[in-house]
Amino acid sequence: MKDVTFGQYYPVDSFVHKCDPRMKILFLIGYLVAVFLSADFYGLAACAAVLVLCVAFSRVPVKSVLRSVKGVLFLIVFTAILNLLFYRGETTVVIADVPLRWWIFNITVEGIRFMIFVMCRIFMLVMISAVLTLTTTPVSLTDGLESLLTPLKWIRVPVHALALIMSIALRMIPTLMDEIERIMNAQRARGADFSHGGPVKRVKAIIPVLVPLLLSALRRAEELGDAMEARCYTGSRTRTRYKKLTFTWRDLLLALLLAALIAGVVLMNVYLPPIL
């Protein structure tokens, strides 16, 4: 359990890994916009091309990226079925002279097209998010978010404190994982059984683990607070940052790619004949 790290960072050296986390977060947002702006398959094809580029230049095996889709497979299938059954199309599909229409369900050609469209959309959203988390450590994601949210300081949002909370939470995950293991072993030694019985029984077995875990987390929090204060932490505005994020030519390329994608999608929406 010791090697469980939060997120799914894939440690290789690549173009995408080296990009500024802020640019990557902005790119993700821009990409989502592009996907949702696409009114037809042309736009989606452009998005898919960009996705392929991103995966290729991240040097993360395609298998690892695809693995993240597995988690949302149910969501994709569920949305697909709903769209298939309820899409208000006009041409009902006929198989062997039997029209596929029953009660309130009506499977239409347009419905099938739209289902594929929606599946592609979700698939691409999940894939691009996976590329972000696979190529960016949680720490630099937090740094990036903090930097991007800096303007909120003007409306008195404690951005720095929030970022610190996030990074401490990330840092505590392995420590608490060890703690869970230790508590569970202590319970096992006294005859607790975590791996047999129905779901209700298993959940009940977890409660005696959670209570000591919570207590120890609170105790740790208090000690950490003391240690932070002892290291001169006051939460004041005069605090400086050691880590500095810098935009490079890579980030410029990424920004240009994004701009081209969004412009392309808009132009395709206007000028190309609809398929849907």
Binding site: V139, R171, E223, A227, E229, A230, T234, R239, T240
Partner: protein
């Protein structure tokens, strides 16, 4: 200059009325000194550490650290915390970041240093604890001794004049304990760092110039470690014992062997050798 001075300091966790956790403590630590504070659990030695850097403030009496009053304003306390670094018991509860250099940078960031200076201080602090090769490592994957050395580096990066170690080796295995003690001794000898070592390991106290023994919130013995360990019977009344070598030499004396009371293992070995050759065993 006097590093730390306590004048008739009283403190209690239960407020003014409650039982005193510290009662009428007077002590001084000079700059560059290595002082050990010994005592059983609950003797008040950790409270002492927390009073030194303003995490707690005394109910009566006066604490002055490097010329600044520790019960003063927030600005005074901030000044004191820059001068006093405290390393606590559990390294896991002192690390704030997932990467070593970010964690060491935490203190310098808090005092608002520019980036270049923070970089220099990370170099200095990691070198001082011999962990310069672990800059980009993850603390969670290091050994206990290494984690505690990172915690010391995090404190050193603020460049304090005084280093307080509050049972900092209690959770470590013997090897980790030795790693940490080597670092502390070097800091004291070579960098002139004032060290206040709070411990219940008697072997560690031997490295100190002076030692205090605390019992139920009071200082009951003071002197050089050798002086204190020469009063073994008195120590026992405070539930403390001699270092292992001292215990063995006393047992030998009780059995009628003419060995001197030794505190270091090497010393004891020589003593036993001398004694054995004298008796032609």
């Amino acid at each position: 200059m006097r590093a730390i001075s306590f004048e008739h300091v009283c403190f209690s966790y239960g407020g003014e009325e409650g039982a005193f956790s510290l009662n009428d403590i007077c002590l001084t630590v000079e700059e560059g000194e290595f002082v050990a504070v010994l005592g059983q659990n609950g003797s008040g030695k950790s409270t002492l550490a927390r009073l030194c850097n303003g995490l707690l403030s005394p109910h009566s009496g006066r604490i002055v650290v490097m010329g600044t009053d520790a019960s003063g304003s927030a600005a005074d306390i901030f000044e004191i915390r820059k001068n006093v670094g405290v390393v606590f018991q559990n390294p896991d509860n002192q690390t704030v970041a997932s990467i070593v250099e970010d964690d060491v940078a935490f203190g310098p960031e808090n005092i608002g240093l520019p980036r270049e200076e923070i970089g220099r201080r990370i170099d200095f602090a990691l070198r001082a604890v011999g962990m310069e090769d672990y800059r980009r490592a993850t603390p969670a994957r290091l050994s206990g001794g290494q984690k505690q050395r990172i915690a010391i580096a995090g404190v050193l990066a603020v460049m304090p004049k005084i280093l307080i170690l509050d049972e900092s080796t209690a959770m470590l295995d013997p090897r980790g304990r030795r790693e940490v003690m080597d670092v502390i001794r070097r800091l004291n000898r070579e960098n002139g760092m004032t060290v206040l070592l709070i411990t219940h390991f008697m072997e560690e106290a031997l490295l100190a110039d002076r030692a205090f023994v605390m019992h139920r919130g009071e200082i009951v013995m003071r002197g050089t470690p050798r002086e204190i360990f020469s009063r073994a019977d008195e120590l026992e009344t405070y539930s403390l014992s001699l270092p292992a070598a001292g215990q063995i030499s006393r047992k030998l004396q009780q059995k009628g062997f003419p060995v001197a009371t030794c505190l270091q293992p090497e010393e004891l070995a020589k003593e036993i050798e001398r004694c054995a050759s004298g008796q032609n065993i």
